[in-house]
Amino acid sequence: MQIIKLNATDSTNAYLKQLLPDNALEDFAVVVAEEQLKGRGQMGTKWISDSGKNLTFSVLKKGESLRVANQFALNMCTSLAIYEALSALGVPNLSVKWPNDILSANSKICGILIENILLGSKIKTSIIGIGLNVNQTSFYNLPDVSSLRLEMGVTFDLDEVLKLIIAKLRKYLTKEFLSHTAELTSKYEKIMFRIDKPSTFKDKEGNYFMGFIKGVSPSGKLIVMLEDQLLQEYDLKEIQLMY
């Protein structure tokens, strides 16, 4: 296994990406940093992590010539891999909050940020960034955030957890899972946070409404059943789940 360990870097995704052109990196090469100085969430948002207590790493996945229209499969495979790794560690009440946060009960313990490099309509390379809260016990004023240590009461060996997750990524990020979208989707839907439960959402205009999460569309949109059994698909920017 090819692992590049860094004391600190701006972002492991950016570091890995910058190695791509001239370095012969293996499939599933890993860049892991003790400290991410500019960890990212979505465009512009930040991922904050205490130095040395958590796992912040990026994994290189060379193209399975996945069509970009099916890119959400990458999200689902990565979520399933982490879910399965954390289940094996005994983390309680796990679920995946659409599109790709991993929760224990109602608290976020892991975030995923995937970057693809596209050529035409095919995905050439994917860089899968993962931030997992492991041994950090204080999250300042952030609500709804937790760590493995907080949930389980024990301290974890970061390398062991990393190896376990990589093993699961190797299992799921394969043609077998990536290209069988229907099976993959139903596997993903089974572990979705608040699936089939009455939930409150907020739309773009700030209006609240009630609905049931029914699953995800092929492009990764959230399918919500509204009143009168009406099924509606929502983009990430169009809806916020309140919980």
């Binding site: 979505q42 940020l113 995937i114 970057e115 050529l119 990430l236």
Partner: protein
């Protein structure tokens, strides 16, 4: 909507690089097709029913340039350019992150494999690499705005 506004609208559409725009408001329905980008007849078609005295459509920008007969002229100009289109629905970003400079600017020379922009969808960030080499003639979409599948993003002069 008066004739002036319609003229402005046509110019705006032609200028935007979109190949087809459909607008439907209360009683008005307009379809504008431009042949501007690489296709067919190059004709601009308008279909509309105007109920008299319909007030409307506040937001037509003042952007329309003083190019009379824009569609026909544009077509011949744009023919030699290659249009780079969006492979997916998502949000178009010209920069790798908000505090960084744009990947490309108008006038830049690009090579095959250069990253032109990022399109984000459902938290997946896609670097769009160029399949052609040439010079960026035009950036057709504003930073951070939504794009549709197949929407033209850049015009590139391959010569």
């Amino acid at each position: 909507m008066d004739i002036k506004e319609i003229q402005n609208l046509i110019k705006f559409v032609a200028k935007s690089g979109a190949s087809e725009v459909k607008l439907e408001m209360e009683d008005i329905k307009i379809t504008i097709r431009t042949g501007a980008l690489g296709s067919s007849s190059g004709e601009t078609t308008i279909l509309q029913q105007i109920p008299m005295g319909q007030p409307q459509m506040g937001q037509q920008p003042a952007a329309a340039a003083p190019t009379e007969a824009a569609p026909a002229k544009k077509e011949s100009e744009d023919d030699k350019y290659i249009t780079i289109k969006s492979p997916i629905i998502g949000t178009f970003y010209r920069k790798p992150s908000p505090d960084k400079p744009s990947f490309v600017e108008v006038g830049d020379t690009i090579n095959q494999g250069d990253v032109l922009c990022v399109i984000e969808a459902m938290k997946l960030f896609n670097d769009i690499e160029s399949e052609v080499s040439g010079k960026i003639v035009k950036v057709l979409v504003d930073d951070s705005s939504p794009v549709e599948f197949d929407q033209p993003l850049f015009l590139v002069d391959p010569s």
